[in-house]
């Protein structure tokens, strides 16, 4: 499964801190990170906190990643300014809502704004639509973030996550 591929890449890259605001699409990856004794999964009250966490971790010499749903991108806009000004490396993994087959209209405005908002703040945006792409794209994103001190977001498409209805979301 694709969350296992992401976990494998994070582990191989030495990521030790994982900030997250839960999303149904990230459920398995969060559980894999929680179960990994070399990782510390940190539950956040808002995605914005994950930017501070990642910045502090890097000041202390640790690699981290930040997991969120697309709605959370709206909560990190101003603090991405610090990431850019300080050239903090950052990998954000965003599970998409409000794009392919969305059932909740309130998700659509932010979902559609994710890419332009991130790009406006200087974050490199990569997008995965198929299971096969996930591992290689996350691998490359980690290299770009930590070898080139870039802010990189990987958007995981709603089609790949496969959320189609409230019922299916609740059952995940």
């Amino acid at each position: 499964m694709w969350p296992d591929e992401i976990h494998k890449e994070l582990s191989a890259a030495g990521v030790s801190l994982v900030g997250y605001v839960p999303d149904a699409g990230h459920k398995r990856l969060i559980e894999l990170c929680q179960a990994d004794r070399k990782m510390r999964a940190v539950v956040l009250t808002t995605e914005e906190e994950g930017i501070g966490l990642a910045a502090g971790a890097w000041l202390g010499g640790a690699r981290s990643t930040l997991l969120m749903q697309s709605s959370g991108v709206g909560n990190i806009v101003n603090v991405l300014g610090m990431v850019r000004e300080c050239r903090f490396p950052l990998l954000t993994l965003v599970t998409m809502r409000g794009e392919q087959g969305e059932f909740n209209p309130w998700q659509v405005p932010m979902g559609q704004a994710v890419r332009p908002v991130l790009e406006a703040m200087g974050t490199v945006v990569q997008y995965v639509q198929t299971e096969d792409e996930v591992g290689p794209v996350v691998n490359a994103a980690l290299r770009l973030a930590y070898n080139s001190y870039a802010s990189v977001a990987v958007l995981i498409s709603q089609r790949l996550i496969g959320i189609k209805s409230f019922q299916e979301q609740a059952a995940q």
């Binding site: 930017i51 910045a55 502090g56 010499g61 300014g81 300080c86 050239r87 930590y146």
Partner: protein, 185 residues
């Protein structure tokens, strides 16, 4: 109490303490006490000082970490107290220098001027409250996460500015903490 005296007292003989200073007055206070590469003074990202402290504390469990920030900055990131309470980093202390004002924008009153008690918020989140007398010792020794509000006079005083460039502040902090190998990471 005067804010510059309070911060200078907390930072005297700081030894290998790692310090995060919230934007605005507390960053100037920390600079007035003496610039150090092991201080990360913020010029933006309001609300994130305590979270940067948490990230640092988790990455460096053998070092003591002190966040010095203002009441306005702490109010903007109040959820961080819940996150710190859940993580329970033993090496982290958060000190709020509380003048009950937004000092950089015209000294408007903050919520703490209207009865909001950040100590009780922090306590309810599981942080350990420390009084002024024990604070300096707690910063260096007491198992945390520790928290203190230091009430200070609302005064306008001359700015003492740290370096501004974010990439420089980051790089000098990492080099001072991790050695020159940090440049090659």
């Amino acid at each position: 109490m005067k804010r510059r005296d309070a911060v200078a007292a907390l930072l005297a003989q700081r030894n290998d303490l790692l310090v995060v200073a919230g934007l605005g007055s507390t960053a100037w206070d920390v600079s007035a006490a003496g610039d150090s590469p092991l201080t990360f003074p913020m010029w933006g990202a309001m609300g994130q000082a305590a979270m940067i402290g948490l990230g640092l504390a988790l990455a460096q469990p053998r070092r003591r970490v002190l966040v010095i920030t203002g009441d306005g900055e702490a109010l903007m990131g109040m959820g961080a107290l819940a996150t710190i309470g859940a993580q329970k980093p033993a090496n982290l202390t958060v000190v709020v220098i509380d003048n009950e004002r937004y000092g950089e924008t015209g000294m408007q009153e903050t919520h703490t001027a209207h009865g909001v008690d950040l100590s009780r918020v922090a306590q309810a989140c599981g942080l350990k409250l420390v009084d002024w007398k024990s604070l300096k010792n707690a910063i260096h020794l007491a198992p945390g996460p520790n928290f203190a509000v230091v009430k200070v006079e609302a005064e306008k005083i001359p700015l003492v500015l740290p370096p501004r460039e974010g990439a420089l502040l980051k790089a000098r902090f990492r080099r001072a903490l991790l050695g020159e190998k940090a440049d090659l990471d």
